[in-house]
C-alpha cells in the first residue's frame, strides 16, 4: 500500500499537467502570501532596524569568516534540529512535524512532476507516506499535549482560533493524505478523502498571509541575528556575566556558589507550566 504512488491512479482521472499546474499555483500562493505577510507585519524592516541598533551597541566587530561560521551554526542547530526550543518535547514534536512536512512536500513534487503515471516510483511513495505519518504524529502530539492553550489557557482541544489555522490545515493535509491513499479505488470514500485533502492543502498554502506559515522563512534569519548579537557583544542588552568566568566566582555575591558544581542539575530547573 505505502509503496504505490497515489498520484498514478489519480492520473487516470486528472491529467498530470493539471496536477503540476496545481503545484505551481500553490508555490505562487506561498510566495505571494509570504511577501504580503512581510509587508503587512513590516518584519523585514524591523529585522534590519534591529540589526542596525545591535551594531551600534557592539563591543567588538565580527569578521566575515565568523559571520559565515555563525550562519553555519544557525543552520546546524536552529534550522536543522530546531535547537531554539527549550522544551525537549516541543523540540521533538517540531522535528517530526518539520521534517515530515519537508519530506512530504518534496516527495509530492517529485511524484507529480517525475512519476505522475507510474504506480511504482522507487522510494518516493514510501517517503510520501512516511512524511505524512511523521507530520501527523508531530502535529497531533503538539495539538493534544503541547499546545499551550490546552494546559495554560484552559481551552479545549476542539475550540479553534485563528492561531490554529496553520497547525489545523497541516494536520488536515497529512490526515486526509493518508486516508485518501488508504481508501483510493474504493469509490466514493476515496474521492471524499481526496476532496478533503485538496481542500486542506489549498487552505494551507493559500492562507500564508493569515497563518504562521512564513515563520519557516524568517525564523532562521532571526536565529542568525541572535547569534550575531551574542558574538559582537551587544547581546540585545542581556547580561553576559556567567559563573564560568573565574573572576566572577570571586564576587562577594557569589559566595554561596563558590564550591557548587558548574551544572546545578535538575533540582533547580524551572518546571513545565502546569500550574495554571
Amino acid at each position: 500500500m505505502i509503496t504505490s504512488n497515489p498520484f498514478a491512479e489519480l492520473a487516470a482521472f486528472i491529467p498530470p499537467a493539471a496536477m503540476q499546474a496545481y503545484v505551481v499555483l500553490m508555490v505562487i500562493l506561498v510566495a505571494v502570501g509570504t511577501i504580503l505577510d512581510m509587508m503587512h507585519k513590516r518584519s523585514a524592516q524591523y529585522f534590519f532596524e534591529n540589526a542596525k541598533k545591535a551594531e551600534k551597541n557592539a563591543t567588538r566587530s565580527v569578521s566575515g569568516g565568523e559571520k559565515f561560521s555563525q550562519a553555519m551554526q544557525t543552520l546546524g542547530k536552529e534550522v536543522i534540529t530546531s535547537g531554539e526550543f527549550k522544551n525537549p518535547k516541543r523540540r521533538a514534536s517540531h522535528l517530526f512535524t518539520m521534517w515530515g512536512f519537508i519530506v512530504f512536500v518534496v516527495s509530492s513534487a517529485v511524484l507529480i512532476f517525475g512519476y505522475a503515471t507510474e504506480p511504482a516510483a522507487g522510494v518516493w511513495p514510501i517517503l510520501w507516506h512516511l512524511g505524512a505519518l511523521s507530520l501527523a504524529f508531530g502535529g497531533y502530539w503538539f495539538w493534544f499535549f503541547i499546545r499551550v492553550d490546552v494546559y495554560s489557557e484552559g481551552r479545549r482541544w476542539y475550540q479553534l482560533v485563528r492561531a490554529d489555522m496553520f497547525i489545523g490545515s497541516l494536520l488536515a493535509t497529512s490526515t486526509f493524505a493518508i486516508l485518501w491513499s488508504l481508501t483510493q479505488g474504493t469509490g466514493a470514500l476515496g474521492w471524499l478523502f481526496f476532496a478533503l485533502f485538496l481542500a486542506a492543502t489549498t487552505t494551507l498554502f493559500a492562507t500564508v498571509y493569515w497563518s504562521k506559515f512564513a515563520h519557516m522563512f524568517f525564523k532562521p534569519a532571526a536565529a542568525y541575528q541572535k547569534r550575531i548579537t551574542r558574538a559582537d557583544g551587544s547581546a540585545e542588552n542581556l547580561p553576559t556575566l556567567t559563573r564560568d568566568d573565574p573572576e566572577q566566582q570571586q564576587r562577594h555575591s557569589m559566595e554561596l556558589l563558590r564550591d557548587a558544581p558548574m551544572e546545578m542539575g535538575k533540582g533547580i530547573q524551572r518546571e513545565a507550566p502546569h500550574h495554571y
Binding site: N237, L238, P239, S253, M254, M264, I268, E271, P273
Partner: protein
Amino acid sequence: MPTFVYMTRCDGCGYCVDICPSDIMHIDETTRRAYNIEPNMCWECYSCVKACPHHAIDVRGYADFAPLGHSVRVDRDEDRGTIAWKIKFRDGREKNFLSPITTKPWGKHIPQLADVPAPDKSMRDSQLLFNEPKYIRMDEGDLHTLEAAGLKLKEGVYY
C-alpha cells in the same frame, strides 16, 4: 510600567502565563504568542521576565526616572544556578550583577502546619511570631552580624 513581549523571540511556551501572579500574561489567539492582556495591572514583579527561557519579555521603565534609552535585563541561568542583571543607564553607564538563584522548587518547603504542635499559652501571649526565634536565628547565639560572620563593611557600593 508594564511588561511587553518581543514577538520574534516568543515561542508561546506558556511559562509566563503560568507564573504571572496577576494572571495577565496570556496567549494571543491569532499569533499564539504571549502578551500582556492588562498592562495597568502589571506591577513589574519581573517574574515572567525571569521565567521566559527566550528572554522575550522586557519591561518599559517609567519615563520620569528611567527615561528612554535605558535598559534593565535579566538572565536566569538555571544550569549555572545564577541570575545575572545588566542595567544600562541612559548616559551609557552600565552595571552588571551576578547572584545565586535562591528560588526553591515548586511545592517544596511549604510549612507543614498540621505536623507542628499547637502553640501553648505562653507562646500565644508572646510578641514573637510563628517560628520566629528559629527563623531569625536568635537561638543560635546572638544576633548575626557582619562581625560575627567575619565580614567587614567596605566603603561605597560593591558587588
